[in-house]
């Protein structure tokens, strides 16, 4: 939770209920055979989280790859994503898929109740295509 900025903290069941009762879902549940282990969203910025005990197995990279492939299959518009600079695992996932830094900004984090730095990144359709052609992305 420390790497997220949008969810309120403490997080209550009513917040989760809000989250899942959208008319137009833009969020996927991530499952690896045994129920929900994380969420990935494309709304239209890319965001995600994975349960702590499921991290380090490449799951998020696999999910991000699938969502990017789905997006670039139907659109040439660039994808924006952001992470807190200290969140090196999230940054690695984005770098691996060709995202490049655009700017460092300050935002108000509802989770932390204060301002926090956020690194914005972007992935263009051209860059995605280059990496895919080189087989650089599994």
């Amino acid at each position: 939770m420390q790497w997220l900025s949008a969810p309120p903290w403490p997080y209550e069941s009513k917040d989760a209920e809000w989250f899942v009762t959208q008319d137009y879902p833009t969020h996927w549940a991530i499952e690896a055979g045994n129920g929900l282990i994380g969420v990935i969203a494309f709304d239209p910025t890319l965001g995600y989280w994975l349960a702590a005990e499921e991290q380090g197995q490449g799951y998020m990279s696999e999910a991000v790859n699938a969502v990017l492939a789905w997006h670039f299959d139907q659109s040439d518009s660039p994808v924006i994503s952001s992470h807190m600079p200290q969140n090196s695992a999230s940054r690695r996932v984005l770098l691996k898929h060709g995202f490049t830094d655009t700017k460092l900004e300050k935002i108000f984090s509802r989770t932390h109740g204060r301002e926090t730095d956020i690194q914005r990144m972007e992935l263009t359709a051209d860059r995605w295509q280059q990496l895919e052609n080189r087989g650089a992305i599994a």
Partner: protein, 191 residues
């Protein structure tokens, strides 16, 4: 032209106060006084809504241009005359509506303009807002009651505008990605 939204800061005061000292700007707002009052400007720059980024500064090529804010799912904005007629407000409002609707609990965003402000109504319409009604409100700068046009932008329209498509189920070698459901709420709360 680089248009960004950011948190208001103390250094914005001079540019901010110059803008709200212009009658042509504040006569199109409901609550701003004319002539401008320094205390009022400072108060509005330091509200909880400003501190938390519900109200943002609009910056054009590094220069303070105005403000846009969403409070209680209603959006208000103004920019200095020097920035009028260049699409600045339309783009800034687009960024703010994207931020508003990226919160899954957001369903509809409202806004009001005075009847004699067609430029502002166009800014709303270009962002997909539709007129829903009219009413009479008090305009402090004019010290008069003025006819107001009410607009709203629904999440459905916003999603069409941003080109969002319903998400499909996706299978990868180890994972299944599926649209989130109502009964996911307990699992999400537990994490």
């Amino acid at each position: 032209m680089n248009i960004t939204l950011r948190l208001l800061c103390d250094d914005d005061y001079d540019a901010f106060h110059a803008i709200v000292s212009d009658f042509d700007v504040v006569k199109m707002t409901s609550s701003w006084p004319y002539p401008a009052e320094e205390e009022f400007t400072r108060m509005r720059m330091s509200t909880p809504e400003a501190k938390t980024g519900q109200v943002n500064a609009i910056e054009v090529n590094g220069e303070f241009a105005g403000v846009v804010g969403v409070v209680n799912a209603d959006v208000g904005y103004f920019i200095g005359k020097a920035f009028w007629g260049r699409g600045v407000m339309t783009h800034a409002l687009k960024m703010k509506t994207n931020e508003f609707f990226s919160d899954p609990s957001s369903t509809v965003l409202t806004s009001c303009v005075w009847h004699d402000n067609p430029a502002s109504a166009r800014v709303l319409e270009k962002n997909g807002f539709r007129k829903t009604g009219e009413c009479i409100d008090f305009c402090k700068a004019r010290n008069a009651e003025v006819q107001s046009l009410q607009f709203e932008l629904t999440k459905e329209t916003w999603l069409q505008n941003v080109g969002a498509t319903p998400i499909p189920q996706i299978k990868t070698s180890r994972l299944e990605l599926r649209p989130i459901r109502m009964d996911d709420a307990p699992a999400i709360t537990n994490y």
